[in-house]
């Protein structure tokens, strides 16, 4: 299965594991062989990690890789290279490709493309309904039993709106410990919607995407999950009201997890004022109160994870009228730096919490064995080495996928991913993805 020879031995010197005191790691045969001080191995490649934070290789539960079908925006190769550049060891690929990943054949193809690329583990997400049309369940069991071992199912981009289909999906995936990841958006309340509905949309004359269109679906879904005793995951939660609903549901013992994107942790609807379509995204950027609420929700554990919703688009899909532009922004390369700014620099999270919300918990929600594991002896060697002391303007030089629709271009962000190690092999070398991963 693995394309990595895993023959090289690495000695990482002086890394601060999840922000703790400096220590050394020896990596051999794709696993962490030893952790301690003063370690060395004859003939090993030595990585000077003095001052760098070592995090377990990051895991993104929400990525769009666009292949098959939309290779002008991204491919599995370019998207997984972007992921490695951001410190990721695994990404979950959303099924809104062409064809839609709603059969065992397509998810196995996706898996194979990821293996061939070799930068990260590409874990396919299966569509909940055939063609993501919301009408009939896709063959969820076949995808679960395929070589891709699909455990997360989502119609992302579309909401599973029919309450009966949603109920059945929640129930059905219990058979293989699956989870439904819902894109919570009432389609009727968001017809033609362009940005958050409120004072700014009123002024700009852009059709509003009201918070209630997200919150009402989350409220319905947590109650459905409670009723049938199933596991629910809420994608890219974006409003203060949504945080309150998930907090209430967890208190009630409902098996729900939730994610927030880096951009919803940092940016507000004010960005729409210049009609620069790089800031057009679904769900839309919200008010400052919402940004504060999702930060607090992530800090207190109501929101379990950060997921990028990395959504590449070609230049012409963004360099146009706001209304004509596509939704979405790339985010893999910037995610850790944005979380650093929004959560760590604000004192809301420690580095060990960052490891939890960007690696451990996403792997657990997605039932992805062998990822999100601690940096201790005997564990798989997926490591991100991050320099928290650097900072600089984010630029196209930091982007390694096929598309450049980042909202952060020109913005000051702290930190830099210096090295990424996946299965014991270096995928990012001094800030740059290697040409061909070992």
């Amino acid at each position: 299965m693995s394309p990595s020879p895993q023959g090289t031995t690495l000695v990482v010197k002086g890394a601060r594991i999840e922000g703790a005191d400096a220590t050394d790691l020896v990596i051999e045969g794709g696993v962490i062989a030893e952790v301690g001080t003063g370690l060395s191995r004859a003939g090993a490649t030595v990585i000077d990690a003095d001052g760098l934070i070592a995090l377990p290789g990051l895991v993104d539960l929400h990525t769009h890789l666009r292949e098959p079908g939309y290779e002008a925006s991204e491919t599995v190769l370019t998207g997984s290279r972007a992921a490695a550049a951001g410190g990721y060891a695994a990404v979950f690929a959303m099924p809104n490709t062409s064809p839609v990943a709603d059969t065992a054949g397509v998810v196995e193809q996706e898996l194979a493309l990821g293996e061939a690329a070799g930068y990260v583990h590409v874990q396919p997400i299966g569509a909940v309904t055939v063609g993501q049309k919301g009408e009939r369940l896709a063959e969820l069991g076949a995808m679960a039993s395929s070589r891709a071992r699909v455990r997360v199912f989502s119609d992302d981009g579309f909401c599973v709106f029919d309450p009966l289909i949603m109920r059945r999906a929640l129930e059905y995936v219990k058979a293989f410990d699956g989870v439904i990841a819902q894109h919570a958006q009432d389609p009727r309340l968001t017809e033609g919607a362009q940005m958050n509905e409120g004072a700014v949309s009123a002024e700009l004359g852009l059709a509003g995407w009201p918070a209630v269109a997200e919150e009402s679906i989350i409220a319905r879904d947590v109650l459905l999950a409670e009723h049938v005793g199933s596991r629910l995951h809420v994608c890219h939660l974006s409003t203060a009201g949504s945080v309150d609903i998930v907090r209430w549901a967890k208190k009630r013992g409902i098996d729900v997890t939730a994610e927030v994107t880096p951009h919803h942790l940092l940016l507000t609807e004010e960005s729409a004022r210049g009609y620069d379509a790089r800031y057009k995204v679904n769900p839309p950027l919200r008010r400052d109160e919402d940004v504060q609420a999702v930060r607090e929700g992530l800090a207190d554990g109501t929101i379990d994870i950060v997921a990028t919703d990395h959504a590449p688009h070609p230049a012409e899909a963004k360099s146009c009228e706001w209304q004509a532009a596509a939704n979405g922004m790339v985010g893999l390369e910037s995610a850790l730096r944005v979380v650093h700014q929004a959560m760590v620099d604000t004192g809301l999270l420690e580095w060990t919490d960052v490891a939890r919300v960007m690696s451990r918990t996403p792997a657990r929600i997605g039932r992805l064995d062998g990822y999100g594991t601690p940096l201790t002896a005997g564990q798989p060697a997926h490591v991100a080495l991050y320099d928290p002391s650097e900072s600089g303007a984010f630029s196209v030089d930091h982007l390694h996928g096929r598309s450049v629709n980042s909202p952060y271009l020109g913005r000051e962000l702290p930190g830099r991913v210096v090295w990424t190690i996946h299965r014991g092999a270096i995928t990012v070398h001094d800030g740059a993805p290697v040409e061909v991963p070992a």
């Binding site: 509905e197 409120g198 004072a199 852009l206 210049g274 009609y275 360099s319 706001w322 209304q323 004509a324």
Partner: protein, 322 residues
Amino acid sequence: MRHLLDTKTLSREDALRILDVAEDMADTQQREVKKLPTLRGKTVVNLFFEDSTRTRISFEAAAKRLSADVINFSAKGSSVSKGESLQDTAQTLQAMGADAVVVRHGASGAPRTLATSGWISAGVVNAGDGTHEHPTQALLDAYTIRKRTFGDDSRGRDLEGLRVTIVGDILHSRVARSNVWLLHTLGAEVTLVAPPTLIPQDVSAWPVSVEYDLDAAVAAEPDALMMLRIQLERMNAAYFPTEREYSRRWGLDPRRLKALGPDSIVMHPGPMNRGLEISAEAADSTRSTVLEQVTNGVSVRMAVLYLLLAGERPEQDREDVR
């Protein structure tokens, strides 16, 4: 003035300058020979992604009376979803040497995108963008109110203390938005009257008061009552139940016209739905300014084109290229 994209960011000084230059332009239109040589050799492109014969011919008349060359570019159907992109259209006009582009577009913000993208160096005049703004309409409305109120004594005056009530589909109206900002900048008090479904969900940042009852608004005797065109397709989206009910509650019928104060004027940006938002009696009464608005529209657009193309263009006015 580099561009005219909205009235939200138009200063009181600039607005009064446009209105005062429009007075001068109106004076020239009383002469036997209406044409001025001012913009000879300049090219004005009317770039219309949406049909609007009225606005287009008003801009065309304004440009021609200033001796500019006018190119009408009807790009309907090549906009938002298919065909040539805004970028390609803009770059084509740039290659042809347009000095000013008057743009009407169905997408809010398209004129700003045009002005700030770096695709084009021409000055951009927003002739109506989606449900955002229609600044020259608001300027001609302000001009009309000022002229009716102060007559020959209009120059240099703002609208301090005047009360203007705007009635109808505020939510989808670029005319309403532009009027709210401009009238406020000029010192007028603005009241919006509409069914609650046709007011934006959050207008707390707007310098207006909101009223649902047209009778109460009429009884308050505003200086100007501006009726907006209602789009009949709004009924299908449940904004109001029927045409008849809308007309009964929010139409300017003969009874309400009679109740209106003796000095109140009745305005409408046109085209009117007679019998729906405005009765024939109101439209044709002496207090109606509908045709004056059309006449004044040419003068105001002459002023805007003049200030854009013949006025000084300080370097710091240039928009940053995105």
